[in-house]
C-alpha cells in the first residue's frame, strides 16, 4: 500500500459516508455483493499483495466536476502526468473549453475530463485483445498495456477520448482511477491537486459537500446513453445560448430549451469553400485500413462470385464464370486473390502498434466485432489459400477439399465482411454509424470483386464479352446501390445535426472537390457499366472496358480514404493548442512536432519484434496457451 503522508491535507481524503443503492440508470452501485468470489482480492498494484481497507471498495466510484469552478489551471493534468510518468504527448486527463457570449459578458467553461469508468464499457467490449477489465474494486475500468497490441479500436469507440493511443510506443494507456490511492482512502491525484475546488471524486451519485447538483449534461459533454458514464457535473451559472469550441472541429453546442440541454450543431468555421486536400488524405494514418478493407472486400467479393458461379455453372447466366474456371486464367486468378489478400492482411497487421502481438486479435470473440472480423477474415484467408492450393491437384481428395474450402471460404467471407461492417457501427462516430457503411462495403465486394475477375481474365484470355457483360451487370448493381446509399447518408447526416453533420460539412468543404469527384465518378462509372453491359464487344463497350478499371479503382479508393478522414468522433472540446486536431496537423506540417515539449508526435510505423514473439512463445507454458485459447470462447 502507498504511504499516506503525515501531513496529507483533509481535502485529499475520500468522504463518502453513505451511498445510494442504484445509480440513475438503474445499475447497482455495489459492484459485487458480499461473499462474491471477486471480493477480498488484492489489486496487485506493483506486485503489492495487500488489500486496501477502503470501506467503499466494492462501490462504483466516479469523478465529479463542478464546471462553475474550473479555472483551467492544468493542475489536475500535471498531477496525473506526474503520477503516471506520462510524456508530454500523452495525457490521461485533459482540459478543454467551450466559450460563449460577447465582451464583457463573455464566458469560458473549462472542462477537465479523464476516463469515466462507464457502466457500459464499450472499450472493454471493443478491445480485441481483452486488455480491458472492469474491476469489482471501485468499478474501475483498467487497461493493461502489456496485453494491448495497439490497434486503437478502443480510442474509436470511447465517446470521451479516454484511452490514449501512443504513436511512439504503439500502445494504449489510460486513467487508472489512481486505484492505489483509493486503497488507502485518498482521492485520485488529479482531484487532490485541484486548485479551483472543481474536481471531486466519490461513490457515484453522491454529491460532495457544498454542492447541489449531480448532472450528466454540460455543453460540450458527449451524449451519455452510449456508455452510461460515471461522471457527474455541477453547473449552476447560466450559460449563453450558443457555446463554441476554439479547436478546429466544426462543432458548437446549442441550447435546446425544450430538452433543457445543449446539443451539438455544425459550426461552419471555415466557410463554404471547397478544397481537394489530397495531401491530408494520402498521408492519413488510416490508409492501411483503406487498403486492407478495399483489398479484402475485393478478394472476398471475387471469391464469392467464383464459388457462386461454379455452383450455378449449369445456368446460362453463370456460364461465363463456369467457362472461366476451365480456362487458363483460373489458377493465376486464384494466385492473385491469395497474394492480394495476404498483402492486405500484412498492411493491416503492420499498422498495429505491436504487430508481433497479432495473435491476440482473437482474444475477445465474445464481445468484440474486431475479434470476430479477424476470425472471419482469417477463416476466409485460410480457406482461400487451401482452395487455391487444392485447385492445383486433379485428385478426388483435392476436389473434395476444394468443395470444403469453398464452403468455409464463403462462411469466412460472410462473417468477416459482416463484422468488418459492424465494427464501424460506432455510436461515438455518427458519420460511420449508418447503414451506408455496410452498403459501401458490400458494394465494394461486388464492384471490385467483379473488376478483379474481369481484369485477370481479360489479361490472360483476352476480351470475353459475355463474361465482361455479366460482371458489368454485377458491378453496376453495386455502384447503383452505392449511389443511392450516399444520397441517404448525406440526407441523414444533415438532419442529425451532430458530429455526423459536422463530418458532412467537412466532406463538402475541406474535401469538397474530392467529394464531388468521387460522386461524379460514381455516376460516370454507372453509365460506363451500363454501356458495357449493353454494348458488349462493340466500340462503346470496348471504350468502357478500357476506362473502367482505373475509374472504378479511383472511385473506390477516394471513397474509402474519405470515409476514414471525415469521421468526427463525439469527443470533448479541445483547447486552442492542446487537444486541437488543427494544431496537431499544423505542428506536424511545420516541424514544430520535432520539439518534444510541443506535446505533438508524428505517426510512426512499428517494427515486427520477432524476438518478443519468440520470447512469448518460449516463456508461455502449454497450459497457459491452452487456457488462453479456452478463454477466447468462455470469455
Amino acid at each position: 500500500m502507498i504511504n499516506v503522508r503525515s501531513d496529507e491535507p483533509e481535502y485529499a481524503f475520500l468522504w463518502d459516508k453513505q451511498s445510494k443503492t442504484h445509480n440513475r440508470y438503474g445499475a447497482s452501485i455495489e459492484t459485487v455483493f458480499e461473499a462474491d468470489e471477486l471480493r477480498d482480492k488484492s489489486l496487485d498494484i506493483n506486485d503489492d499483495v495487500g488489500i486496501g481497507d477502503n470501506p467503499n471498495r466494492y462501490k462504483q466510484h466516479g469523478f465529479f466536476l463542478n464546471i462553475d469552478n474550473c479555472i483551467g489551471c492544468h493542475a489536475c493534468e500535471a498531477a496525473c502526468s506526474e503520477k503516471n510518468d506520462n510524456p508530454a504527448h500523452i495525457a490521461f486527463r485533459s482540459v478543454g473549453f467551450v466559450e460563449g457570449g460577447s465582451f464583457p459578458a463573455y464566458q469560458r467553461l473549462n472542462i477537465s475530463m479523464a476516463c469515466n469508468h462507464c457502466d457500459d464499457t464499450v472499450c472493454l467490449k471493443g478491445c480485441p485483445t481483452r486488455a480491458y477489465t472492469k474491476f469489482a474494486e471501485y468499478g474501475a475500468v483498467l487497461q493493461d498495456p502489456d496485453i494491448c497490441f495497439g490497434c486503437g479500436y478502443c480510442t474509436w469507440v470511447c465517446p470521451y477520448n479516454a484511452p490514449q493511443l501512443d504513436p511512439v510506443k504503439g500502445q494504449v494507456t489510460k486513467c487508472n482511477m489512481c486505484a492505489d490511492r483509493l486503497e488507502v482512502g485518498l482521492k485520485p491525484a488529479c482531484v487532490a491537486a485541484c486548485l479551483g475546488n472543481a474536481l471531486d471524486f466519490g461513490v457515484i451519485e453522491n454529491i460532495p459537500e457544498g454542492r447541489s447538483q449531480a448532472k450528466t449534461e454540460i455543453p460540450g459533454f458527449p451524449r451519455t446513453d452510449i456508455t452510461h458514464p460515471n461522471i457527474r457535473f455541477q453547473q449552476t451559472r447560466s450559460t449563453h445560448r450558443e457555446m463554441t469550441r476554439t479547436d478546429s472541429t466544426p462543432l458548437k453546442y446549442h441550447r435546446d430549451d425544450k430538452a433543457g440541454m445543449f446539443k451539438p450543431a455544425v459550426d461552419e468555421k471555415h466557410g463554404r469553400e471547397r478544397y481537394w486536400n489530397w495531401k491530408i488524405l494520402l498521408s492519413s494514418h488510416e490508409n492501411a485500413h483503406a487498403i486492407f478493407t478495399l483489398l479484402s472486400q475485393a478478394v472476398m467479393g471475387a471469391f464469392v462470385l467464383l464459388v457462386i458461379g461454379s455452383l450455378f455453372g449449369s445456368l446460362a447466366v453463370a456460364a461465363p464464370l463456369q467457362q472461366l474456371k476451365e480456362s487458363s486464367a483460373w489458377l493465376p486468378l486464384l494466385g492473385i486473390l491469395v497474394a492480394l489478400m495476404g498483402f492486405g492482411l500484412f498492411k493491416l497487421n503492420m499498422h498495429l502498434g505491436k504487430p508481433h502481438r497479432f495473435y491476440r486479435g482473437f482474444y475477445n470473440l465474445r464481445h468484440s466485432p474486431v475479434s470476430r472480423e479477424i476470425a472471419g477474415v482469417s477463416l476466409f484467408f485460410a480457406s482461400l489459400s487451401g482452395f487455391a492450393l487444392m485447385s492445383l491437384f486433379d485428385h478426388k481428395i483435392a476436389h473434395w477439399l476444394v468443395v470444403l474450402f469453398s464452403i468455409t471460404g464463403v462462411l469466412g467471407a460472410a462473417l468477416g465482411s459482416w463484422y468488418m461492417y459492424k465494427l464501424y457501427r460506432i455510436p461515438a462516430r455518427p458519420f460511420w454509424d449508418h447503414w451506408q457503411t455496410g452498403s459501401a462495403f458490400y458494394e465494394t465486394m461486388l464492384s471490385l470483386g467483379s473488376l478483379l475477375i474481369a481484369v485477370v481474365a481479360t489479361a490472360i484470355n483476352g476480351i470475353d464479352a459475355p463474361l465482361l457483360q455479366l460482371l458489368a451487370v454485377i458491378c453496376a448493381t453495386g455502384v447503383a446501390l452505392e449511389n443511392i446509399a450516399h444520397w441517404f447518408h448525406a440526407r441523414d447526416l444533415k438532419q442529425a445535426g451532430n458530429e455526423g453533420a459536422a463530418a458532412h460539412y467537412e466532406q463538402t468543404t475541406t474535401f469538397g472537390k474530392t467529394y464531388r469527384l468521387r460522386n461524379a465518378l460514381l455516376g460516370v462509372n454507372l453509365l460506363l457499366l451500363i454501356t458495357l453491359a449493353a454494348a458488349g464487344a462493340s466500340m462503346p463497350g470496348l471504350i468502357a472496358t478500357a476506362l473502367l478499371p482505373a475509374m472504378l479503382l479511383l472511385a473506390a479508393y477516394t471513397s474509402r480514404i474519405l470515409f476514414y478522414a471525415l469521421v468526427i468522433p463525439t469527443t470533448m472540446p479541445g483547447a486552442f493548442f492542446w487537444k486541437n486536431e488543427g494544431f496537431v496537423e499544423h505542428a506536424r506540417e511545420t516541424g514544430l512536432a520535432e520539439m518534444e515539449q510541443m506535446g505533438v508526435v508524428y505517426e510512426g510505423h512499428h517494427k515486427f519484434r520477432l524476438d518478443e514473439l519468440l520470447q512469448t512463445i518460449r516463456e508461455a507454458s502449454f497450459k497457459e496457451m491452452r487456457s488462453q485459447f479456452a478463454r477466447i470462447f468462455t470469455g
Partner: protein, 631 residues
C-alpha cells in the same frame, strides 16, 4: 571576472559596472550578494529585476506607510466582507493563492469585484467585473474615494488616529466626481457609486493587486490609491481589511527585504547615515565605501549602457532579452557592453548570446535556504539533489567573487547557510522585518513563520502563530516618524501611448498559467504544450474587420517593431484591444513601449498601441515563428 570588473571600474569609474539581480534566489543568497555588490565591487548601479514586477508595490507601500512590507496575510480572505482584485488574475498568476481565496469565498461568499480590461477567469467568476480603460485605475480610485467622502462613509476616527495629509488628498479627490471619472475610466457612474458604498460599508474590505496596477506609468500611484482607499475606510491592520500586493516572483519579497538592491539589507536605505553605519560595522568595511543615495534602477541601467556610462554588467537569474520592453533596443544595448556576465541555471537563456562569461548556477532544491512570500512568511527549501555539471549554488559563486576583491578579505563569508541566516537575524533585530526568533529548523517545523518573530518572543517561549499576523494593528504605528500613514493626492496624468488611427488597438500583455516568466524553465517541459507558441487574443469582430482568421499567423506592429503571433479569436477581449502573453522570446516585448513610472521606475508593459496585419505567406511565417522557439 574580478579582473575585468576592476579594469572597467578603473577606467570608467566605480559605477560603470552594474549588477542586475532577480527574485529567484534564496534569501541568504540575496543577503550574501549584497556583500560583493555593495561591499566589494561597490557599484551603486545595483538593482533587481523586481523593478519589472514589484517595484511599484514597494514604492507605494513606502510612500503610504513609510516602509515596504505588505500589511495583510492570506487569512484575511477568511475575514473580509468585500474583496477588490485590481489587475490581478489569481487563477492564472497565483493559482494557489486563488485556492485560498476560493476556499474562503465558498465558506462566506463575500462579494468579489475584479477590475481588469480583459475577461480573465477571475473576472468571469466575479460578482462584478469592472472592465476598465487601460491605465486609468487612479481615476477610478479617486472616484471611489470621491463618493465615499461625499457620502460621509469614511472612517473619521481611524483617519484621525492614523493618517496625515487628509485635506491634501481630499482636495484632489474632489475633482473626480463619478460622472467625469466614468468618461475617462470607462466604468459607469452607478457602478462607481455602488462599489464605493459596498467597499466603505463593509465591516472589513480588502484589495489585492498585481501587474495590472504595478506595470503602469502610475503604478506606484495605483498602489498609493489602494492604500488611500483602505486608510480612509479604516481597512489597514485589521482582519479582512488590507492592501495586499500579490507578489510576482517566488522570492521577490526576499530580495526586497535582504538583497541590498536599491538600499541595504533589512529594509535599510542608503540615504539614512545610521543605516549605512550599521551595515559598515557589521560587515567590517570602511564607513565611506557605501554611496550616499540610491543609484540606478534596472530600467535606468539599460539606458545608461546605451549612452556609455555603464560598460560592464552582471546579470543574475534574469533574462532582459525577453523580459524588458522594446527588445530591439535591449539587443543593441547589450551589444555595447565591454563585459557581460550571465549567471543562470540555464545556459541557453537568450541573454547568454551577448555574454562574455557564463556562470552556471544551481536552482532551488539543488541548494538550501529560505524565501519569503506575499504574507511575509519565511519558508525553507531543502536540498534534494545535486546541481548538474559544473553549476554551483549562487551563494558559493557570490562568496568566490567577493574573495577576489580587496574588501573581500575584510568581510566574513560564512560557508554554513545557517550562519548566513544568523547574520540576517542579527541585522533584523528591532526592525519591522524582525526574524531574529527564527531558525531553519524552526521554520521547517512550523511550515513557515511570518515576520515579525523576535528573539525576545522566542526566548519567552512564544510560539509563532500558524498564520494571520498583520502589520500596523496598533494605532499610529506606521513607519513614518510621526507614526502616521500619508494620504497622498493622486492627480491623473494621461501619458500613455493610446490607440490612434495608425495604431488603433490597445496592446495588453500578461501571464499564462502554464508558463513561468521568460519560459527558461517552462519552455522545455510538457506543460509547454498548453501554449507552445505565441498567440494573440483578438475580438472576433475586430478580426473579421481585418480579415484575420482564427488559428492563422498575423503580424502585430507598433512604433517599436513587429511580432508574429497566431490569432485566437475570442470575446475575452474588447474590440479595441489585443492580448499577447509576455513569456515568449522575440515576441510581444518587441512591441511594448514600457514608459517608466516616475516613482518606481517600473515599465508600463500593459499600455501600448499596435496595429495588426494579415500575413499572406502562412508557411514562411510558421517557419519563422518556429525558429524563434528554439533554445
Amino acid at each position: 571576472m574580478a579582473h575585468e570588473i576592476l579594469r572597467i571600474q578603473k577606467t570608467y569609474g566605480r559605477d560603470s559596472f552594474a549588477i542586475v539581480s532577480t527574485g529567484q534566489l534564496l534569501t541568504e543568497e540575496f543577503y550574501t550578494l549584497g556583500k560583493p555588490a555593495r561591499g566589494c565591487i561597490g557599484t551603486n548601479n545595483y538593482d533587481g529585476n523586481t523593478t519589472l514586477c514589484m517595484s511599484s508595490a514597494v514604492s507605494g507601500y513606502k510612500r503610504s506607510f513609510g516602509s515596504d512590507g505588505p500589511p495583510g496575510n492570506y487569512k484575511d480572505f477568511e475575514h473580509t466582507d468585500c474583496l477588490i482584485a485590481w489587475g490581478s488574475n489569481l487563477p492564472e498568476q497565483h493559482p494557489i493563492i486563488y485556492w485560498r481565496m476560493k476556499e474562503a469565498q465558498e465558506k462566506r461568499n463575500f462579494p468579489l469585484i475584479v477590475v481588469d480590461p480583459r475577461v480573465t477567469m477571475l473576472a468571469q467568476n466575479a460578482d462584478m467585473h469592472l472592465a476598465i480603460t487601460p491605465g486609468t485605475d487612479v481615476v477610478l480610485q479617486n472616484a471611489l474615494m470621491h463618493v465615499i467622502l461625499d457620502e460621509g462613509l469614511e472612517d473619521r476616527d481611524y483617519i484621525a488616529a492614523n493618517c496625515a495629509d487628509f485635506e491634501l488628498m481630499e482636495k484632489e479627490v474632489q475633482k473626480y466626481d463619478p460622472v467625469s471619472a466614468s468618461k475617462i475610466c470607462g466604468i459607469d457612474e452607478d457602478t462607481i457609486r455602488n462599489v464605493a458604498r459596498l467597499y466603505a460599508n463593509a465591516d472589513a474590505a480588502m484589495s489585492i493587486w498585481t501587474m495590472g496596477i504595478n506595470q503602469s506609468t502610475h503604478g506606484s500611484d495605483g498602489v498609493v490609491g489602494i492604500n488611500n482607499l483602505n486608510l480612509i475606510t479604516g481597512n489597514i491592520g485589521k482582519a479582512g481589511g488590507t492592501s495586499l500586493s500579490i507578489t510576482g516572483q517566488c522570492n521577490a519579497m526576499g530580495t526586497r527585504e535582504w538583497s541590498s538592491c536599491s538600499g541595504l539589507p533589512g529594509y535599510r536605505v542608503l540615504e539614512k547615515p545610521e543605516d549605512s553605519e550599521e551595515i559598515d560595522k557589521f560587515w567590517g568595511i570602511d564607513a565611506e565605501f557605501f554611496p550616499k543615495q540610491r543609484g540606478l534602477t534596472e530600467t535606468d541601467i539599460f539606458p545608461a549602457i546605451e549612452t556609455g556610462q555603464i560598460k560592464g554588467l552582471w546579470l543574475i537569474a534574469t533574462n532582459p532579452m525577453t523580459s524588458m520592453a522594446n527588445t530591439e533596443r535591449i539587443r543593441k544595448t547589450l551589444e555595447k557592453l565591454d563585459f557581460l556576465v550571465v549567471q543562470d541555471s540555464y545556459a541557453d537563456v537568450e541573454t547568454t548570446q551577448y555574454a562574455h562569461l557564463y556562470l552556471p548556477a544551481a536552482t532551488w532544491a539543488e541548494k538550501e535556504g529560505v524565501f519569503t512570500n506575499t504574507e511575509r512568511r519565511v519558508n525553507i527549501v531543502r536540498k534534494v539533489t545535486d546541481a548538474p555539471g559544473e553549476s554551483q549554488a549562487d551563494l558559493w559563486i557570490f562568496n568566490e567573487v567577493a574573495k577576489r576583491f580587496e574588501n573581500g578579505s575584510k568581510i566574513k563569508f560564512p560557508q554554513a547557510l545557517s550562519d548566513v541566516f544568523d547574520e540576517m537575524c542579527e541585522l533584523s533585530k528591532g526592525r519591522l522585518l524582525d526574524i531574529s526568533g527564527m531558525s531553519h529548523d524552526k521554520i521547517e517545523a512550523q511550515r513557515g513563520i511570518q515576520w515579525p518573530y523576535t528573539s525576545e518572543e522566542a526566548d519567552r517561549g512564544v510560539e509563532p502563530p500558524a498564520g494571520g499576523k498583520r502589520l500596523y494593528t496598533e494605532a499610529g504605528t506606521f513607519r513614518y516618524a510621526d507614526g502616521k500613514a500619508k494620504l497622498i493626492p493622486l492627480p491623473f496624468i494621461d501619458n500613455n501611448e493610446v490607440p490612434d488611427d495608425d495604431y488603433p488597438l490597445w496592446l495588453n500583455t500578461g501571464r499564462l498559467v502554464e508558463h513561468f516568466h521568460t519560459r527558461t524553465k517552462t519552455g522545455k517541459v510538457g506543460n509547454n504544450k498548453y501554449s507552445p507558441i505565441p498567440f494573440m487574443e483578438i475580438n472576433p469582430d475586430a478580426a473579421q474587420e481585418l480579415g484575420i482568421v482564427h488559428s492563422e499567423y498575423v503580424r502585430c506592429i507598433s512604433r517599436r517593431g513587429d511580432a508574429v503571433v497566431m490569432a485566437m479569436c475570442t470575446q475575452r477581449v474588447p474590440e479595441n484591444m489585443i492580448f499577447i502573453p509576455f513569456h515568449f522570446h522575440d515576441c510581444v516585448n518587441r512591441l511594448t513601449l514600457g514608459l517608466l513610472d516616475p516613482h518606481s521606475r517600473q515599465p508600463a508593459f500593459k499600455q501600448s498601441a499596435v496595429r495588426v496585419e494579415c500575413v499572406e505567406d502562412q508557411q514562411a511565417t510558421a517557419q519563422m515563428s518556429m525558429e524563434m522557439r528554439g533554445f
